[in-house]
Amino acid sequence: MSRYEIWIAFATIVRREVRRYLRIWPQTLIPPVITIVLYFLIFGNLIGGRIGSMAGLPYIQFVAPGLIMMSVITNSYSNVVSSFYGSKFQRNIEELLVSPTPNIVILLGYVVGGMSRGLGIGAIVTFLSLYFADFSIHSLPVTIAIVLLTSMMFSIAGLLNAIFADSFDDISIVPTFILTPLTYLGGVFYSTELLSDFWANVALINPILYVVNTFRYGFSGVTDINIFWAFAMVLLSISLLFVVTLRQLQHGSRLRS
């Protein structure tokens, strides 16, 4: 395929992905926004007012970046995992597999589709959070870079989950039993300074801790971890996920018997 034809194939996948989640907007766009608004109301306003400050920030300002990032993570992941698995289930993934579209374009198309939903929801939640908290931006490049990379990382992870999934249970197990606990334990609601040394060290194996703290650093300059180390971890994770997922698309027995 020529570069122009590859671009058309990529744009087709992205457009189809965007149209998919816009077509079912009551399922894809409204629930995450309602959920995050409830988080702001309960943890930010009602309980947050009694907590006072966390890591030197008013609690609502401490928790807001984590809540925004939480919506980016869950929506990037769930968009790709449900869309790709749905295509496997209905077997319309074969439309792509029989075509000359290179596997890397299939991967990037799904990932960019997932990122568009994750970042779109993130933008809506950020806009709504202005009603609950006063924001200032400490570092715009860090904020933008980490939200883009996080969305990319979890979109690829969602695709990998979908490739391996054999049932709808398989695409809900990871979000329910891995992603949600890691998000809650990833420093969204508290600083790791509150943990004992042992648990603070255990928390360092949680990738969500890095992205939430880096995102918070972008807003307020406050972080529990070194942001350069965080970026390195995120880039390493993206690279590993990218290679494994591409290999599965090319040679994996989950798509081609």
Binding site: N92, P100, T101, S257
Partner: protein, 317 residues
């Protein structure tokens, strides 16, 4: 009339193709097959013979264990992009997004082949109109009837204008009228140069449409010849005669075995090359008036059954 296009590489050339599932089950045992450009080719075989596995490998949905495949001279391993461009496939089961509209399914499929939206929309309109789906082009495809869904898959397979169209049981579950219109459509695109390979259980379909045929059984090609040559192998045909006046027993005619099935119906076995004029003369002499005559079963079906039965193991009782 179907014409084979000369001076072109074969539409499909399969050499020593093997597929082993897991460590044990050998679905394809080194098959060789060549389909010439412009041909209308039937791939026949009982369930589990290896037809769908072969098609799956050609379309890169199944990984081969050994062998080579080229499509119009393009190797599917080393020149996969061009090889895939030449192939359009209509699978046996519906495999499109049931929530998308037919027009979107076609335009997206064109996009995967690098065809721009404007050209894709023009082609989609043309094929949807030709296949009688244009009025429903914007409705969710899950609301289409079974026959419409099958035609949608044909339109989708043609949207990038492939030189080789592979149809896996294209008329399964389709009513007779629609089946005939699909045959006309397929003959038309074949006459305009598209090579067609079809698998089917309706052997009448293969006999009516196809020029050449391969029969595959348990992963081995057991016959690969023209339909005419295959029919010539038929040693005996059975004809059903409808009789005006009621008969109580089968008439006796030298040289023919006649079975009395009911008072108005006889079955006659006729050897290949044997004239049936003496039969009618003898029946006329016995004041038996024949109203109509037809083949008891499709001729190709008789051959197919005899070839596959030869290979079936005896059932232990």
């Amino acid at each position: 009339m179907i014409t084979v296009i000369e001076n072109q590489p074969p539409a499909l050339k399969i050499t020593q193709l093997k597929k082993i599932y897991g460590d044990q089950f050998e679905a394809l045992k080194g098959i060789d097959l060549t389909v010439e450009a412009g041909d209308f080719f039937a791939l026949l075989g009982p369930n589990g013979a290896g037809k769908s596995t072969t098609i799956g490998i050609i379309c890169s949905l199944v990984r081969k264990s050994a062998g080579t495949i080229s499509v119009f001279g393009c190797d599917i391993d080393t020149d996969f992009s061009n090889a895939k461009r030449h192939i359009g496939v209509v699978p046996q089961e519906f495999n499109f997004n049931q929530f998308e509209a037919p027009i979107d399914i076609l335009v997206n499929q064109a996009g995967y082949y690098g065809i721009g939206r404007r050209v894709a929309l023009e082609r989609a309109e043309r094929y949807l109109k030709q296949l009688g789906l244009w009025e429903r082009c914007s409705e969710a495809s899950r609301t289409l009837s079974g026959g419409m869904k099958r035609r949608l898959m044909i339109a989708r397979a043609l949207i990038h204008e492939p030189k080789l169209l592979i149809l896996d049981e294209p008329t399964a579950g389709v009513d007779i009228e629609l089946r005939r219109s699909m045959w006309d459509f397929l003959c038309d695109i074949n006459q305009r140069g598209t090579t067609i390979i079809l698998t089917t259980h309706y052997l009448e379909e293969a006999e009516s449409l196809c020029r050449n045929v391969a029969i595959i059984d348990r992963g081995v090609i057991v016959q690969n010849t023209s339909v005419k040559a295959l029919i010539k192998q038929l040693s005996m045909e059975t004809f059903v005669l409808d009789i005006r006046d009621g008969l109580t027993h089968a008439p006796v005619v030298d040289g023919y075995r006649i079975v009395h099935t009911d008072s108005h119906c006889l079955e006659v076995e006729v050897a290949s090359g044997q004239s049936i004029n003496p039969l009618f003369a003898a029946l006329g002499g016995q004041a038996i008036e024949v109203l109509s005559m037809r083949n008891k079963t499709n001729r190709l079906e008789e051959l197919f059954i005899s070839m596959v039965e030869k290979k079936l193991p005896e059932v232990q009782t």
